[in-house]
């Protein structure tokens, strides 16, 4: 019996370690795959991609709402001195500008019902600045939601989206 204690302890330790590691890594792996999938489906890097209305045939992300306009911008702030200038154009109804890091966390959301919103996104480790948000990771995705529950409202949201920007710039010195 004694000779099985060692292998059994190894089995349990390995199982616990792999269990914890899998849980820890899962969000990052899923987000990494999602970013790759979005890139393959035409979601631009450092630009908001004009969306199609969400239908079973056009859905890109799990649990998308057919009642919302979604515009996505992937970002990568790994180049030294890079930052992102982000603008969400005005929209008379509900709209929000949401930031997600490489761990899938929604680290900031700005509501902009009836008004335009402009903000800078800074790389991890940056000092806090007025009018800026520091990203916890170099890569992530920005998502604009606009309430557009019918075709006419969706078309209007597409027009409003022409004022959206997601532009990579060098930090001002």
């Amino acid at each position: 019996m004694k000779r099985w204690i060692g292998p059994l302890a190894v089995l349990l330790l390995v199982a616990a370690g792999v269990h914890a590691l899998t849980l820890h890594r899962a969000p990052a792996v899923i987000m990494d795959r999602a970013l790759d999938a979005l890139a393959k489906r035409g979601v631009a890097l450092h630009a908001f991609t004009t969306p199609q209305r969400v239908t079973p045939q056009t859905q890109q992300v799990v649990r998308s709402s057919p009642d919302l306009y979604y515009a996505l911008c992937r970002y990568d702030l790994s180049a030294p001195g890079s930052q992102l200038d982000v603008t969400m154009g005005g929209w008379p109804g509900y709209q929000s500008l949401a930031f997600f890091d490489a761990q899938t966390d929604n680290f900031a959301t700005l509501r902009g019902t009836g008004r335009e919103v402009t903000v800078r996104l800074l790389p991890p480790g940056s000092a806090a600045q007025k009018g800026a948000i520091v990203s916890p990771s170099t890569k992530g995705v920005i998502l604009i939601r606009r309430l557009a529950p019918d075709a006419a409202r969706f078309d209007a949201a597409v027009e409003a989206g022409r004022a959206d920007t997601c532009r990579l710039e060098r930090a001002r010195t």
Partner: protein, 201 residues
Amino acid sequence: MMVRRALIYLAAIVTGCALGLGSALYMAGLWPEGRNMAFGNVDVGGWRSDFAVGSKAADPYTRARVARHGLLALAKSEAVYLTRATDETGARLREACTYRLSGGAMPAEWWSVTLYDGKSMLPANTDGALSVNAQGFPNGAWQAVIAPTRPANGGAWISSKGAGDFDLTLRLYIPNPALLASPNTALTPPRIERLSCGGAA
């Protein structure tokens, strides 16, 4: 003897990896396929949610499950998502059945109820009837039929065609503070009554 001992340890490591991986994926709802978002620490009449969605406060199981089934979901101050996969009798929601979904005013600035299949995707149909929302019911009380074919009375309809086993997600945008503080008091959850299955009443 040494070789046999080494093989035993190797088998323990391989088995430990499989157990650790499988248990993590299962407990986080990532495996097997078809498990849904009807989970969490908030339960209002069978509608489940985890108000830590979208934040670092979520436990690792919730974070992993949301990453798979609720990617890019907003934090609770902006939107709350409640999901239900069963009818009022506790039976699984199925494409073969017809249901009446009904409710009243919601404690938020805007709401919608959307149907998703077992893979958390909109069902593969072209009916153009994927959800109901506040815009269609300005007077508070509302109801809709969930069925694979359009109801004859022309009322509000969510199509379950092609959905198989499905669930419903209630979105509450800009929720009232009372909902976040005390969801069971602030929210009267929508009812899901099963009307018939496979042509039988």
